[in-house]
């Protein structure tokens, strides 16, 4: 369960940034008064163009950034006050994340299991399950630098899921991946849902959102400009393409 209430993230602008953005303001809101809730067993999607505030929101949920205002709770724990508890329950995967090239898949996954303080027996059981499911056993002792993008993606998934998190956060997880590789992620997200996990993912690709999510928010310039169930969103499209509806919503809020 993720509860985001009235969350804002404000950044101070340097002179250079002020000049680049052609503004006299000394601060800028990356996220402005955002509230939503993600429930266990369902998939929540944050949809928005580049720079809308999706990554900042997810980073705040993942305890990487502190909100300037508002509160975020993950499974009842506050992300600022009780960040260690939050981190125990989350898995975080981003599309831009790389792995340690000089380690092997087994060493990488073991490293993260150790950081999560997993008991050895539990680690083995979980690792065997994930490695078999993802087909990592064929290359588990090869250096990651020598693996293909698809193989790396599988290792990333195993690393994110090794401690069996209740809440999984995906930040544009398929960006830069081909359709076949992206499909690994799509199945992972579906599996998480069927296992009753809370799933939130950000994307700017409507087809992906359409395929997976139960609820969505459209975020633009740091604010949520649309929030409803996926079914309701489909209904307002009136037979038009969903991407077109998404673009219309964003443009009418310029």
């Amino acid at each position: 369960m993720i509860t985001v209430s009235k969350v804002s993230k404000k950044y101070a602008l340097s002179r250079k940034q002020q000049h680049e953005l052609q503004t006299a303001d000394t601060t800028v809101f990356a996220v402005n008064d955002v509230s939503f809730e993600c429930k266990p067993g369902s998939i929540y999607s944050l949809l928005g163009p580049n720079g809308a505030g999706k990554t900042t929101t997810l980073r705040m949920i993942a305890t990487l950034l502190h909100p300037t205002q508002g509160t975020i709770q993950v499974n009842g724990h506050d992300v600022v006050e009780n960040s260690q508890e939050v981190r125990k329950t989350i898995g975080f995967l981003t599309g831009s994340t790389n792995l340690y090239d000089r380690l092997t898949p087994l060493e990488t996954v073991k490293y993260f299991a150790d950081l999560h303080k997993m008991p050895e027996a539990l680690f083995r059981q979980r690792k065997d399950q994930l490695f078999t499911q993802l087909g990592i056993n064929d290359f588990l002792n090869k250096r990651i630098g020598q693996l293909s993008t698809g193989m790396k993606q599988k290792v990333s998934i195993a690393r994110t899921m090794i401690h069996n998190p209740d809440v999984v956060i995906f930040d544009e997880p398929t960006s830069g991946l081909d359709v076949i590789t992206a499909n690994n992620i799509i199945s992972l997200i579906r599996d998480c849902k069927s296992e009753g996990k809370t799933v939130i993912f950000s994307s700017h690709i409507m087809s992906e959102v359409d395929l997976l999510c139960d609820e969505l928010s459209i975020i633009h310039k740091g604010r949520i400009i649309y929030a409803d169930t996926m079914d309701a969103f489909r209904a307002i499209s009136h037979g038009k393409s969903l991407t077109e509806t998404f673009i219309n919503i964003v443009q009418s809020n310029k």
Binding site: A62, L65, E85, R87, I90, T97, F112, L115
Partner: protein
């Protein structure tokens, strides 16, 4: 604690598999000093030998017979019948090496116990020529002197009123301390810094650049433990680089020929357990100091290149105190004991000589630990700033 150990293990494994770290922390420090010393001495010897054995082309004008006979040498070719101006041009053009032009009446002056005048033309760009010709002139001079002494019935002692017996009471160890004591810290401080440099960039800026830091910071480990793990791993690599430097230095001393046995013995005495322990007690905080400073800088950079552009000029800041310690007359005092890098360099000199005062040594260790602590705090501050850790 377990988290810190997990991080250290992973970082060391990761770094040891990296060719760049291996080169900068193991290979370079181990080979640099031996190659430098062996290379330079060999090269110098070869050049010297070449110049020594080269046949010199010398032109003599109005030379007395006694001198001419001294120049009858297979390594000297005497050129005759050439005008002085042309000979001078040839020396400038380096086709001839030297000219000795004896003034008219030279022999007369010598016979009348006066100073004889002669002009010696050479090119100062070639030191060996000057040296070789002067050696011949010295021989000629002593021949004249002994002839004069016997003519005047004087004893040789006339010219040497003082017969000084010099007794150096400095032990071989102390002499080596002055000679080598400055160079040892210069090299190990430099390589300790260079050894820390690359891993610091790789472990901090590298994680940021690759984006792995985001995932690392979402594990239930405090940022403090993550940073400590990384800093300790950097410091271990720095200490390892310093050890490699010293091993390389002592290997070259052991293996090179022509070192008198008393010096070899003094060097083995220097390498006592006490020396090694005393050195380590300074080296460890120094390495942590470097790790802290380098981490603080590397965290702020968002790309490898940016980090490199910050830390490479910093190596000059590290070298300067080590060079100051090499200056003659630079001594360890209560004031210099506080200055990091300079204090470790001066203290090593004194430890090698065996003249360090216990209290001063403790003060240095304490000061190094304090500076290491400040550097670590600085780095923690940078690491806690969310602006620095995410790209």
């Amino acid at each position: 604690m377990n988290t810190i150990l997990t991080i250290i293990r992973k970082e060391l494994k990761d770094s040891l598999r990296d060719r760049k770290t291996l080169i900068s922390a193991v290979l370079m420090p181990a080979l640099a000093v031996p190659l430098l010393i062996l290379g330079i001495t060999k090269l110098q010897q070869r050049l010297n030998d070449k110049e020594r054995n080269k046949q010199l082309k010398v032109v003599l004008y109005n030379a007395p017979a006694a001198l001419q006979s001294l120049f009858t040498d297979p390594k000297i070719q005497l050129i005759n019948n050439i005008p002085l101006n042309q000979a001078k041009d040839s020396v400038s053009a380096e086709s001839y090496d030297a000219i000795l032009d004896f003034a008219p009446g030279f022999e007369k002056s010598i016979d009348s116990l006066q100073a004889g005048t002669l002009s010696f033309y050479f090119k100062s760009t070639n030191e060996i020529v000057e040296k070789r010709i002067n050696e011949k002139l010295e021989l000629y001079k002593s021949a004249i002197l002994s002839a004069r002494f016997s003519k005047l019935n004087l004893s040789q002692g006339m010219l040497k009123p003082l017969d000084v017996h010099t007794m150096d009471v400095a032990s071989t160890k102390e002499q080596i301390g002055v000679l080598l004591g400055g160079f040892i810290p210069y090299f190990f401080i430099l390589f300790c810094y260079l050894g820390c440099m690359y891993p610091a960039i790789d472990m901090l800026t590298g994680e940021k650049e690759k984006g792995t830091i985001e995932t690392l910071l979402t594990v239930p480990a405090s940022r403090f433990s993550i940073l400590m793990g990384k800093m300790i791993a950097i410091a271990i690599i720095g200490v390892c680089a310093a050890i490699m430097t010293m091993s390389g230095m002592f290997m070259v001393v052991r293996l090179s020929n022509g070192i008198p046995p008393e010096i070899l013995k003094a060097i083995s005495d220097i390498l006592s357990v006490k020396f090694i322990l005393m050195l380590f007690a300074m080296l460890i905080p120094l390495s942590i100091f470097f790790a802290g400073i380098l981490s603080a800088v590397a965290i702020r950079a968002s790309t490898f290149k940016e980090a490199q552009s910050y830390v490479t000029p910093m190596s000059f800041v590290v070298i300067i105190p080590a060079v100051i310690a090499l200056m003659p007359g630079m001594k360890l005092t209560w004031e210099t004991s506080w200055i990091p890098i300079l204090n470790i360099a001066l203290a090593t000199k004194e430890i090698v000589s065996g003249t360090i005062k216990n209290l001063q040594y403790l003060l240095i260790v304490f000061s190094l630990i304090a500076f290491a602590g400040i550097a670590v705090l600085l780095s923690i501050r940078q690491f806690s700033n969310e602006k620095n850790i995410l790209k």
